[in-house]
């Protein structure tokens, strides 16, 4: 597998060098280096996982709806449930106008869920969403969507006014509040979106790795055996908790994107 785990850690032995630097967990040396005109397009492990997860998600949905029937089979009902779930979010938050955002929000949900799921997928065990780049472009996409929707709805100046001046603000604090609102709505929002997903996934990845490394190192007839047994015992709980976080974070990202789109659509 990866150099930072299997190579250094001796079974039942040495923790030394196992996690010398936690950043080693997130260092992705390029597997295949190339670039176009100075643009670095090297392929590394994260990118392979992204492609794999994306392809898996797409093929799953494709398979579910390639032979779509009125009375759905198991796979089709599951995929319809996902779409229905996101559609309900869109309709609840945005209202009737939300229907046209359903494909985008569903893609967000499915993509993030698939990426997050790689965290506890045996043999992969690395969520691409623990890379700032992935959550970054996701948040950027959401930002572009809700800002462009806002500009389309209110016009450029109208949208700037809309995001910076809350209704019913006293004139005295308007200048400072306008700056705060502007920054919070246009800069902090995508940043928070990206950071939330990223930090959750990093923390989850570290948790899973530490649990598994502890099992790996301590489950050995030595004085540390109880630790190994404990770690082995709680590892299913850790996986279950991570599964919960995976779903929750995908849901929250989709929900908040819907909320931001909704706030761009409505005027006060």
């Amino acid at each position: 597998m990866t150099p930072f785990l299997a190579v250094d850690v001796q079974y039942g032995g040495n923790f030394d060098g196992a996690l010398d630097d936690i950043n080693a967990l997130f260092q992705m040396p390029p597997i295949f280096e190339f670039g176009i005109g100075g643009l670095d397009l090297s392929i590394n492990r994260t990118i392979l996982i992204i492609w794999l997860a994306t392809a898996a998600a797409f093929l799953l949905f494709r398979a579910a709806f390639s032979d779509a029937r009125i009375v759905p089979g198991k796979l089709q009902s599951a995929c319809e449930m996902v779409i229905d779930f996101v559609r309900n979010i869109a309709l609840d938050i945005i209202g009737p106008k939300g229907v046209k955002f359903v494909p985008l929000l569903t893609t967000f949900f499915v993509f993030i869920f698939a990426m997050n799921l790689m965290k506890i997928t045996p043999g992969i065990m690395l969520p691409p969403t623990s890379r700032m780049a992935v959550t970054g472009f996701l948040a950027l996409t959401a930002w572009v969507v809700y800002v462009s929707v806002g500009i389309k709805t209110h016009g450029f100046l109208g949208y700037i006014k809309e995001v910076s001046i809350p209704p019913g603000t006293p004139k005295a604090i308007l200048p400072i509040l306008a700056v705060i609102e502007f920054v919070s709505n246009l800069i902090l929002r995508p940043f928070a979106l990206a950071i939330r997903l990223f930090a959750n996934m990093v923390a989850g990845h570290i948790l899973v790795v530490i649990t598994l490394v502890t099992v790996h190192v301590f489950l050995y007839p030595r004085p540390g055996l109880p630790v190994g047994i404990l770690a082995l015992g709680i590892s299913p709980l850790v996986f279950g908790f991570e599964l919960f976080i995976i779903g929750l974070q995908a849901y929250i990202f989709t929900l908040l994107t819907a909320v931001y789109i909704s706030s761009s659509l409505e005027s006060h």
Binding site: A18, N23, I47, I50, F58, I70, T107, A133
Partner: protein, 177 residues
């Protein structure tokens, strides 16, 4: 040396927060492709299936409604028919009653008529009998009177002459009465 949470000495912790360009680009490409695939392949079919399903459900419901209306119609027809039949039965019973009544009246009338006829006939019979008896009586009375007279007069009169005499007398009597 175990450094679990972060490497304080190592500033590379912040490097975690810097997006790696290749990942950003390839990730975005993957995301865009997924979005494209969803919009192109999955959603048209999904929406079509949902539309088909709602259309099917709608159709089924409409069918059910139509069937309900049909059933209602049939029920109304049956009700009307039953009412008709009941009315018809009533009419038949009424008619039968009327027939029976008229029959009864006829029979009664006929019986009355017959009774009257019988009475009349009996009357006639009685009259005839009486007449006959009267006639006979008259003849006997005549004969007896002749005999009596003959005895009294001691003269044999011709019975036929006497008969004429008596008849005349009686005729007179009856005309006098």
């Amino acid at each position: 040396m175990i450094t679990l949470l972060a490497a304080a000495e190592d500033a590379s912790g912040a490097a975690l927060l810097v997006p790696a360009m290749p990942e950003l680009i390839w990730g975005f490409v993957a995301f865009a492709l997924l979005l494209l695939g969803m919009v192109k392949f999955v959603f048209p079919r999904a929406n079509q299936v949902l539309d088909d399903r709602s259309a099917a459900i709608q159709g089924k419901m409409e069918e059910a409604d139509a069937k309900l209306v049909e059933a209602e119609e049939a029920r109304r027809n049956f009700d009307a028919q039953i009412a008709d039949a009941r009315g018809e039965g009533n009419a038949i019973i009424e008619e039968a009653k009327q027939t029976a009544e008229s029959l009864r009246r006829d029979i009664v009338a006929k019986a009355e008529a017959e009774a009257a006829a019988i009475v009349e006939r009996a009357q006639a019979d009685i009259n005839a009998e009486r007449d006959r008896a009267l006639q006979e009586l008259r003849q006997q009375v005549g004969a007896m009177s002749v005999e009596l007279a003959a005895r009294i007069v001691e003269r044999e009169l011709d019975p036929s002459t006497h008969q004429t005499l008596v008849d005349d007398y009686i005729q007179r009597l009856s005309s006098q009465n």
